[in-house]
Symmetry: C2
Amino acid sequence: MRNFGVLLIAAGLLSFAHGVTGAAPPATSPGSQAADGLRKPVAAAEVIAASAPSDWMPLDPQNTLYVELRGGRVVIALDPLFAPHHVANVEALAREHYYDGLAIVRSQDNYVVQWADPEGKRTIKHAQHTLPAEFERTSRGLPFKPLPDPDTYAPEVGFSDTFPAAVDPKFGRAWLVHCYGMVGAGRDNDVDSGGGTELYVVTGHAPRHLDRNVTLLGRVVQGIELLSALPRGTGTLGFYEKPEQRTPIRSVRVAADVPESERTELEVMRTDTATFAAYVEARRNRREEWFKVPAGHVDVCNVPVPVRPRTEGAQKTRASHQ
Amino acid sequence: MRNFGVLLIAAGLLSFAHGVTGAAPPATSPGSQAADGLRKPVAAAEVIAASAPSDWMPLDPQNTLYVELRGGRVVIALDPLFAPHHVANVEALAREHYYDGLAIVRSQDNYVVQWADPEGKRTIKHAQHTLPAEFERTSRGLPFKPLPDPDTYAPEVGFSDTFPAAVDPKFGRAWLVHCYGMVGAGRDNDVDSGGGTELYVVTGHAPRHLDRNVTLLGRVVQGIELLSALPRGTGTLGFYEKPEQRTPIRSVRVAADVPESERTELEVMRTDTATFAAYVEARRNRREEWFKVPAGHVDVCNVPVPVRPRTEGAQKTRASHQ
């Protein structure tokens, strides 16, 4: 960053991506409050920087998974509201160490990575091999904050707690949607052939055609780059052709079972607050100087719910896997 | 693939992704034609397998770039219909070897990779440093095949030749859209500060909020995995913090300047044919056995325009960067 050429890139792209990463939120600007007390439109990073502690909620250690890879830890927030039986089964599988020693067997560009038992020799002691599908649920009693813009695939999209979701009000149904970083349970042709023994993570453009065809059960909130930057498998569908190309899974643990000193303490922005509404608006109409034509709309998968370390608070806010 | 466990994954996921990759198209099935002569709905891979030579068009070597990296060649189809001056300038930069020896300086997860002159020392001989923005153009006289489904961001989306594009009929304007694999010219805050010296490639969920804010000029049609699987930079916005982390760019050449024997001969599916319309329909409503709830809709960025080697024809069809 020592000369004009690189400064030009940095300057241009810093504003280019503010709020996409939330990586370098500026301090709250006095300019974000007009002199007459009316709030001016602000950028996403400013919304995050100005948020209150009550705008955030910690991850529930009972519904958080740590996937330990050679390169580090992937943290997954599980969603028992949409997939209660799959979440319980994945936790049971983790607790009997079913996943330990398995491997990432597949990385398909712009689509998914997936882990599984490559030799098919692992036995299950207490958990279930398969479960009835949890593709959707009733929308009754569900927390849901819709976005204002039309969606290509669903009547309404928005957020249920901290997860991207869709609702069909006519039929009273709701489902999680396949945004980047979402985690699901692979299945065979039979809809009830999943259960969590093989999990996949979306690492490309949202494959929304999978919605309601497979059980989603959570999302990666930290460490997605340990999965998304893996070499692509050269076999059909991105399967690795040689065993040594696979990435070993050292262990998968429920956070509550890990000593507190070894936990990754994260908090996620609540989606039922005025702060989140301001964040959505900042994503709909980007106010950073770089942007000239605000989009006026936003895709549910372009609203990454912010995640940050609990201990560091607003000083080091990070947007989840974006 | 020797035991039940792995067969189960393969069986389930083969149908899971047919047409996403087009990686293993089945032979045209007799079952795709009903006995009474009426066509049954077919899967995307079947549409591709049954296509005629006239459904495809070769890449124009005058508007094709080869980016040579240590790991192989990235092929970019340029679009002079939307960005004539940027395309001409990028070709001029390639012809004076401006890019040779530059580096990929940035890989930001779920967003973009970008190459540039990291030291800012390179001089330009004949090409332009910057150009007026080419964010949009008139829709008059433009080839454009709209998709039938609503889009979150634009009044109409579809394909202009082989590129994903949007149209606003009310104002008679058209623009390329930021799908996975699209290539654009980085710029500073001034809209006319780009020109092609720094190119970026979308490697994540479509950042459609960039549409009409930056000049798109082409798309990667082969070799995207050489960019998308790069380690993410750990600096702000995914910049690499150490020079040795950057990926060197050996050279960038216009295909027409490369001896024919060294070219990558590809052809792209035309988008103005009944075959492409059938392909779109197959993407809107997936007919593979694995799918239980056809989406009934499709996002423009979930319709990867198929690309395949010219010499191998339908035997080895590949979908671009999907």
